[in-house]
Amino acid sequence: MENKKIQASIEAILFAKGESVEVKDLITALECEEEEIREAIDHLKTMYAKSDRGIQLVELEDAIQLRTKEEFYDALIKITTVPRKQTLTDAALETLSIVAYKQPVTRLDVEKIRGVNSDSPLNKLLEYGLIQEVGRLDAPGRPLLFGTTEQFLRSFGVKSIDDLPQMSPDVLEDFKAQAEKEIQIKLDI
């Protein structure tokens, strides 16, 4: 298939589906080599990046999806209905960060780190489709293991779990230093 046609076909598919489309499905449907598809995706990305375009192509693990550019949000909310915000409680956010950074985790893992029973936030996150069951731990009772979903990547604007902001003791040290500095500043005033 011609390059231009591959590109156009991918755009047509992404537009009509609206949802994310796996690269491997594109390979099958368009009967192309993976390389050709990857190339077309890169072209599309470059094309959308231009300033006269209102949409962009995002990658989510091994899937791609179209979405509007962030800068047009203010214009968009005037004319379209924006999906209702999912406000997560602090407990849910804490739980989610544990699942995201330590996945796969069991209920007990989360509970141990938070120091409190976390069934309710875990269930909420499952309900929101931000986390999912990903298997069972090979341990007595074979407890369920949880991981994050593609919806999680979308909702938090990351390509993959590896792209989550780094979490290291260094970061924490920085955070601490910063906090101390802030207090210092306040004290100085």
Binding site: F15, R67, E94, S97, V116, R154
Partner: protein, 256 residues
Amino acid sequence: MAIPVKLEVFEGPLDLLLHLIEKNKVDIYDIPISLITEQYLEYVQNMPKEDLNVVSEFLVMAATLLDIKCKMLLPKQETEEGEEEIDPRAELVQKLLEYKMYKYMSLELKDMQMESERYLYKKPTIPKKVQSYKAPLDYEALVGDSTLQALNDLFLVIMKRNEEKIDPIRSGFGKIVKEEVDLDKKQLEVCAYIEAHKKCMFTELLSEQKNKMDTIVTFLIILELIKVGSIGIKQDETFSDIEITYEKPFVKIELQ
């Protein structure tokens, strides 16, 4: 330390501890355990007691704090190898650090979520033509390994099963029609028949009957007639036909 009138809500005992550590501006690696324990207990005492599960989680931590406090009060002992004993607070500090790290990341996530909310996605708009498309059937897969012979064999099995289903005796009864039987009339009929024939076969009598109910009633009437001695019966062998003979004039019988 004065307890604020309105108690702050904490996610859990670790959250409360972190709060106390930050509030007192002390080093997490060198927690003044007496002070923190005292404040922690003060908070727990004033906690709403509605949910015992929540309270118990906080109490477990209180016990841990008191345990650490006790250990800290004891003089430091060197182990046999001459190494210094591990700080009793070490495990708690580790837990607090881990929790703090995730709590920090959860705030990062919160920001990320808020930023991502500014991206809008599109609902599927699959053209009707595409939606209504039906993939052609793979007849080879559909038919599988059923051959014409298999179909033929199957048909024979069905026909055989069908024949077996029909009970040749009962199928002779024909359709069952719900019909009220006039007992008096029926009795008169049966009696008239036997009287007219003087001698008749049971099957002959039954073949006169239109339906199942008539047959049953006729049978009952015969039984009654035998009982009152109006007729006699004779059967040569089991399952053979029964010969009915007229014995004496009929009296009206009461069927129940």
